[in-house]
Symmetry: C2
Subunit: 327 residues, 2 copies
Amino acid sequence: MSIRLGIYGYGNLGRGVECAVKQNDDFELVGIFTRRDPSTVKTLFNSSVYSANDILSFKDKIDVLIICGGSATDLPYQTPELAKNFSVVDSFDTHAKIPEHFDNVNKICLESSTTALISGGWDPGMFSLNRLFASSVLADSKYYTFWGKGVSQGHSDAIRRIDGVLDAKQYTIPVEDALNRVRNGENPELSTREKHIRECFVVVKDGADKERIENEIKTMPNYFADYDTIVHFISKEELEINHSGIPHGGFVICSGKTGKNLENTHVIEYSLKLDSNPEFTSSVLVAYARAISRLNKEKAYGCKTVFDIAPSYLSKLSPEDLRKTML
Amino acid sequence: MSIRLGIYGYGNLGRGVECAVKQNDDFELVGIFTRRDPSTVKTLFNSSVYSANDILSFKDKIDVLIICGGSATDLPYQTPELAKNFSVVDSFDTHAKIPEHFDNVNKICLESSTTALISGGWDPGMFSLNRLFASSVLADSKYYTFWGKGVSQGHSDAIRRIDGVLDAKQYTIPVEDALNRVRNGENPELSTREKHIRECFVVVKDGADKERIENEIKTMPNYFADYDTIVHFISKEELEINHSGIPHGGFVICSGKTGKNLENTHVIEYSLKLDSNPEFTSSVLVAYARAISRLNKEKAYGCKTVFDIAPSYLSKLSPEDLRKTML
């Protein structure tokens, strides 16, 4: 029997889930739920669209709901609220607030006999798994996370808020030399500046003071001041042609020592090169929706993270087939 | 309370486990069990050595036994036999016989209220996990496993059996062009010959017929005939100086498409670069011994593989600390 899926929120992530469901024939998309007027929402595959206000009437028609809201203001209240009536999956990525979000969702799930996966995606998500596996296997080790090359939405938005800026895209780029030192097993201490470069492509208003704008970008606290930042001023057309995608990716590299005198070095590296950040994130969420649906059927209630779920739950293959084909 | 560990078998793998236990302070090494006369066995850290015949008297003194025998003749009978009285971990790596080994061990474990992990290590093991995660997340995808650069014990042994050969080391090397095609998301069809090269360093007897030996190596069915094989004849001294290590490693690379028209490509790559194959394998086994000890305490009896165990079980950190620091 198919897993009956709902999509709550229809931005880039929601569209990615809609695409991913098409690639996974053990799912059936029940509907997309939006806070907008459903009649104004055009979907990629002509899927059914309902008002978010009507979600409760789908209580027994949906096995898992993937919540595609934002971490800043949507998910902290949406996930616990929806977990009262649905098993849910979200991509909450405010790392510092994960423990609090987990506790809120876990309490509701245990009271409601629902199951939730929070913080799915690739970081948090696949990168977290790799940090855990690598550091558990290599006891005397150190791990490093590098992001990019890829578009940071938050940093692009920060540039757009500067007076005189019409549009902007910011790429986070790992510093090659730092990557290589880590890959060589040097376990270096790396400052923020030594790990990543920020490259910005900026479209400005006619007659805008480029020098002032470049200076405002490079000195912006938290976002750019601690990095080597490169600013390019380009035309609107060039931005559209060369910078319309939302690629991303990165590396988790862990190195550690073993042996009688810790004389042997081992390097574990996991990397992602993604043409579309939201579509890959969505694909991870759908795999975890499969797991959450199964866990809820097994009465494993409560909030989970990627750390708590046995890998076999993510696959549509049976345990027998997995042992035969992939082990 | 410490996890009380036993090591059954004391070759390269057993020595690796002895080293790894020193790096994991939540373990206590109860003893090493050997089929040899214990008084003749010198350990790396002056650990206690007992006869394998006395293992049953340790039934209530050991939480997990790591079985360090070979897959060809030892593990198929040792693991089920020892699972009658102990929770066990092994590194059974004959891929084709894993389903049968699993069933044998699972039956005994369920009858005996013990828990087992079979086929731990890196392939099967960490590589299997990455095949599973990548192909579950990317539905329309294809994964590739490359091994090396590293020493293949089986191929080195095969060369040593040739008449006139005194000693040999064989390195398995992935073909760079094949790696790059896979990394580019081409999803190519690759023959055995296109994926790996075999490079051999051979020491021969004085006056041996090198041409015949080289030909015998290159045409050996299963081992070399399907590969491009390079043979170097070197001195005994050179072999000792330059080829005494047992490094290994490899790559699991998966690429797949997403999007409305499958227009976006994603590449997931996991790689290992290991100075010591047996010591890294041992480190994986110790992390899974931690998991098996916990699972047995939770009365989760039966045989498990890396697919069946939630990642958090591998870490000595609490779920709360994992969420706070690694997610």
